[in-house]
Symmetry: C2
Subunit: 231 residues, 2 copies
């Protein structure tokens, strides 16, 4: 039951650049409106489903993020869509890591290519168990923590989000119909950094200083023929 | 039954720049290896499911494409994956139009942003009925035709593809697991151009001069609050 939410997701949508300090650390421009990209369902790494896989020649960065799922379809929402209506549309939450092949993405950004490869390798979306909505009364009071080999790399509260959930939903829904079960990632705070084969990754979602969910992973080298080359 | 293939698709993957004359007409660089992007399932427009919707302020281009679905999972295929093995992995075919918000995509390319919005609006993936594999013994002998208001805009054979299907599959599968049912678009030939509200769109897939499938659509303005603004 606690992983069924993953099978119900027709789409996985990820907001980019939603924390000011993260925008700064990557020297990116601050968007005037939310932008987003898709991750494939094949990138999901469920709890206890094996290691996180680092593709050969790829610089992988961790991006710890709060995600939520929808309990209804949303389409063409007005800009006046309210925080209360947004919360009423949420089925529940998850702790996620938006793993990113940074050198693949940097090449894509330079050459104007899509992000789908850099964001979409197998195991590039580690997720926690489903978090019942009641456990997170206020999604802006969540603390996200990511450690590599015991060292804290990311630790911030979700109150730093630039575009709140109701603005994300009204914008996304005006472009594509959001469907019941869709999984939406809300962006990463500062502190993204590299993961190498052999690393131990831990992520925690805390509410009122209590750990609600966690992810624990070992990183290994991805098997198979893939090796990064320029497109 | 002839539309069930659309409900079985966990992913929709689209190859970019797979016809030399189309690369030239958009002044793009020729890729050294296939690259691809995702379209959301919510962008599918089934036959007789209503008009194609042009978002306000958006320059939409038609890209007629041959698509196929998989009859098995494919993962980490070697570069030696053969044309015969590729054909054996195909469940069947479809005629599709990869509708593209060209001004949204051009901005994304300039700013290094993802393509998901420009490729992902509702109705941006018109599809035909399922085409049984037996009807297309050779996928490189297909003729694709697209007309707007009766005028031929695109008309080319699939033998002009730069990366053949076995190369597409081995490359994609080394990055992300391809799943039974996934829908894969193989790229558009030259002749892409604008569609405006009021236009009548027809597309045809021919084999040995016989029409195997067709798409017929009216274009209308997309309702709702969306209007193109810079990100
Ligand atoms: Mg992210
Ligand atoms: Mg993209
Ligand atoms: Mg295309």
């Amino acid at each position: 039951m606690s992983l069924k939410y993953l099978d119900n997701a027709r789409k996985i949508l990820c907001i980019g650049r939603n924390y000011a300090a993260h925008i700064k650390e990557l020297n990116n421009a601050k968007p005037q409106q939310p932008f987003f990209f898709l991750k494939p369902s094949s990138s999901i790494l469920k709890p206890n489903a094996g290691p996180f896989l680092v593709p050969k020649g790829v610089v992988v960065h961790h991006e710890v993020e709060l995600a939520f799922t929808l309990n209804r379809d949303l389409k063409n929402l007005p800009e006046s869509f309210s925080p209360e209506e947004a919360l009423a549309s949420i089925e529940g939450y998850a702790l996620t890591i938006d793993m990113t092949a940074r050198n693949v993405q940097d090449e894509a950004k330079k050459k104007g290519l899509p992000w789908s490869i850099g964001k979409g390798f197998d195991t590039f979306l580690p997720v926690s168990n489903f978090i019942a909505k009641e456990k997170i009364p206020d999604p802006y009071n969540v603390e996200l923590i990511l450690k590599v080999n015991g060292e804290v790399r990311q630790q911030d509260k979700t109150d730093l989000m630039l575009f709140p959930i109701h603005k994300i939903l009204s914008h996304m829904s005006s472009i594509m119909t959001l469907e019941k079960g869709d999984l939406i990632l809300t962006g990463t705070p500062k502190g993204v950094g590299q993961i190498s084969p052999g690393d131990k990754i831990e992520a925690y979602l805390k509410y009122n200083d209590e750990i609600i969910e966690e992810i624990k992973l070992d990183a290994e080298q991805k098997p198979g023929p893939y090796e990064y080359k320029e497109t």
